[in-house]
């Protein structure tokens, strides 16, 4: 069996049939179908997403220690890598955990895209090939297609000619990115973070111009869900200006003075995030938007987040 056949059998055909059946029960609205489908997919991926969010949060919690390590082992990259790994291990996080949910969504994007162009009868070639994906045991799917492509102001089969979707996709993705962006004192890392903050939203906005609106609708719904989940776990994060962020900014303004991380913590210290100046490493976490805690309570509680925020706003 070829890879294409496996793809069709395992991913594309189920996606097509589910989309058609969902549409039947959602007032024949393909737009609603995409939104509900997004919710279902995100619900299925919830455990993974939660893991990713906790990984992000854990990443935020060790930023101060990471900065210290970078400073300490600036001239010994090998040692730096070893210490960083040790720090990750100690904090119980897996950096790859951030990637998995996104990677798993890629087949969904591709399958959804292929489903859209088939079930909406975009071109005769695609529509003709749809029949071989339909489950003969589900009679409804044969009569339901083509699905209604109109939703709000959109024709879900083609890109949004009013260009609102690219803005919404880019905007929601920027917010999501911004929430996870952590201020850093390392100028190189800072410029990289800035680049990433804009690159992803711009890239997806560009893709939205090229692809059917239905796919963009999925991205927007998915981004909104991500933002909500992110908020529940880590709060607004980098979206709001924080003390640490301001501090980084003010550090940068002092000519001839390099930015100094205020939180100093030995990675192998028993206290982990204990600091020497009365400010915890968690103030750096705070800069990432998560878990500001009192000095001496550096370790964030798993599953904490918005509920752990003192109302600083």
């Amino acid at each position: 069996m070829s890879i294409g056949a496996i793809w069709d059998l395992v991913i594309l055909s189920p996606m097509i049939n589910i989309v058609i059946v969902l549409s039947h029960y959602l007032f024949n609205s393909f737009g609603l179908t995409i939104i509900v489908l997004t919710i279902i997919i995100r619900a299925v991926m919830y455990p993974l997403t939660l893991k990713q969010l906790h990984a992000t949060k854990a990443m935020q919690s060790i930023q101060a220690e990471m900065a210290e390590l970078q400073k300490k082992y600036a001239k010994d990259k090998r040692k730096l890598a070893q210490e960083q790994l040790a720090l990750y291990k100690k904090s119980g996080m897996n950096p790859a955990g951030c990637l998995l949910p996104m990677l798993l969504q890629m087949p969904v994007w591709i399958a959804l895209y292929q489903s859209i162009i088939r079930v909406l009868a975009v071109a005769p070639e695609d529509f003709l090939n749809l029949s071989k994906h339909l489950y003969t045991s589900w009679p409804m799917v044969f009569t339901q297609v083509p699905l209604e492509s109109r939703f709000l102001w959109l024709d879900l089969a083609v890109p949004d000619r009013w260009m609102l979707l690219p803005i919404l996709v880019g905007g929601t993705m920027w917010v999501q990115q911004k929430m996870t962006t952590m201020p850093t004192t390392d100028p190189k890392a800072q410029s990289q973070a800035q680049m990433m903050l804009w690159m992803m939203p711009l890239m997806f906005a560009f893709l939205t111009i090229q692809f059917p609106s239905g796919l963009a609708l999925y991205w927007i719904a998915s981004n909104v869900i991500s933002i909500a989940m992110q908020y529940m776990v880590t709060g607004w994060g980098g979206l709001l200006p924080t003390k640490a962020g301001k501090r980084v900014a003010s550090d940068k303004k002092i000519p001839g003075q390099t930015a100094q991380p205020k939180a100093i913590a030995e990675p192998d210290s028993a206290q982990g995030g204990e600091v020497d100046n009365g400010k915890s490493g968690d103030e750096s976490q705070d800069s990432g938007g998560s878990n500001p805690t009192r000095p001496g309570t550096a370790k964030p509680k798993p599953g904490g987040g918005r509920g752990q925020h003192p109302r600083r706003r």
Partner: protein, 363 residues
């Protein structure tokens, strides 16, 4: 470290996007077309007209297969053509996915269309079904649910009517009635004089297959997996037959038997009067190309490119040839030869008796 992983993620996403593009081409999908051939010309000078996938109309001399004439539909850019051309007198007509109808008078050195409808721009919708000609008028449908009647001589519009949803089906004309199926699951009977509706027949699925009319009965397949036989006079149901998948291709009737190809890979041979099953031919691959009657048998092309003859009242099935290329376009027939236009834009001439095959160069 975080930014490094984010960079990796971005690269992966970018790759994913590229895969997304690569899987199905750039969005939206670029239609390529699958025009069937149409036999025209005079008895002494028969020609086969076919539109190529790069948007040219070609006239092949029959039976030799030399290319007599070729003309681009547009001087710049290609045009996808899904319907077979129509011919009448010295004019040949073809409908483009760009929403235009072209009329050519093929002659050496004359490549410009005699007329184009509309004169400027397009009709604002794609033309997927092929045009048909009857009583000096050309009828065609659009994927915005409209049916048009044009004067064949000059291309001026006689009438246009909106009958509902998207239409990809070619119409069929019988007497003073035009029949056309639509995506809104209805078959419409319209008066050819002004396009007014005589009756409509509802089904449970979209209708893409072109109807065929014989003995006061219009036969058509639907996406609800039924083949219908409907009284042309009043739109009442005579019989219906359930298959395993969509009906996409126009059926043919031969010796009182209707041969209805289906995307379930079977051709259903039914008694045209009663709908009783005479035979089921399982050809193992979906059939979207309309078959043709070739002498005493019916010739069918599967999507896989296998050409079969079905004969003896629906009791014999013989594999004529395997082209090895997908066939979506309706077949054409003339003097013992069947013509199949594949999705590789190659036209094959197949001897309906022996299966001997030759390629015609239409490019």
């Amino acid at each position: 470290m975080k930014t490094r992983y984010t960079m990796v993620l971005t690269v992966l996403l970018l790759l994913g996007a590229l895969v997304l593009s690569g899987c199905t081409g750039t969005a939206p999908t670029v239609p390529k077309g699958w025009s069937g051939g149409t036999v025209g010309g005079t008895e002494a000078d028969k020609k086969l007209f076919v539109a190529t996938m790069d948007g040219r109309l070609v006239a092949m001399s029959l039976p030799g297969g030399s290319r007599d004439w070729v003309a681009p539909l547009e001087t710049t850019g290609g045009v996808a053509v899904y319907g077979s051309p129509a011919t009448s007198g010295n004019l040949t007509y073809v409908g483009g996915y760009n929403g235009k109808i072209y009329a050519f008078a093929p002659a050496p050195g004359r490549e410009e269309p005699r007329w184009i409808y509309p004169r400027q721009g397009g009709i604002g919708a794609a033309v997927v079904g092929g045009p048909v000609i009857a009583r000096g008028k050309l009828y065609f449908s659009s994927d915005k649910g409209k049916v048009y009647a044009l004067d064949t001589a000059d291309g001026f519009k006689e009438w246009e009517v909106t009958v509902g949803d998207k239409i990809w089906s070619s119409p069929a004309v019988d007497g003073d009635t035009l029949f056309v199926g639509a995506f809104n699951k209805k078959l419409y009977a319209l008066r050819v004089s002004d396009g007014s509706k005589k009756w409509e027949f509802p089904t449970e699925g979209a209708i893409v297959a072109a109807p065929v009319v014989e003995n006061n009965t219009v036969y058509f397949g639907s996406f609800d997996r039924y083949l219908y036989a409907v009284n042309t006079a009043d739109g009442s149901l005579r019989w219906k037959f359930k298959a395993g998948s969509w009906f996409w291709a126009k059926p043919v009737i031969h010796n009182g038997v209707i041969y209805a190809p289906c995307l379930d890979g079977k051709v259903y041979a039914l008694d045209a009067a009663s709908g009783a099953t005479r035979a089921e031919f399982n050809l193992g691959s979906p059939i979207s190309a309309a078959p043709v009657v070739a002498g005493d048998s019916v010739v069918v092309a599967t999507e896989k490119g296998e050409i079969y003859t079905l004969g003896d009242g629906g009791r014999q099935q013989k594999l004529l040839v395997e082209l090895g290329e997908k066939v979506y376009a309706p077949l054409a027939y003339s003097e013992g030869m069947v013509y199949a236009h594949t999705i590789k834009d190659i036209l094959y001439a197949i001897d309906a008796s022996s299966g001997a095959t030759s390629k015609f160069n239409i490019k």
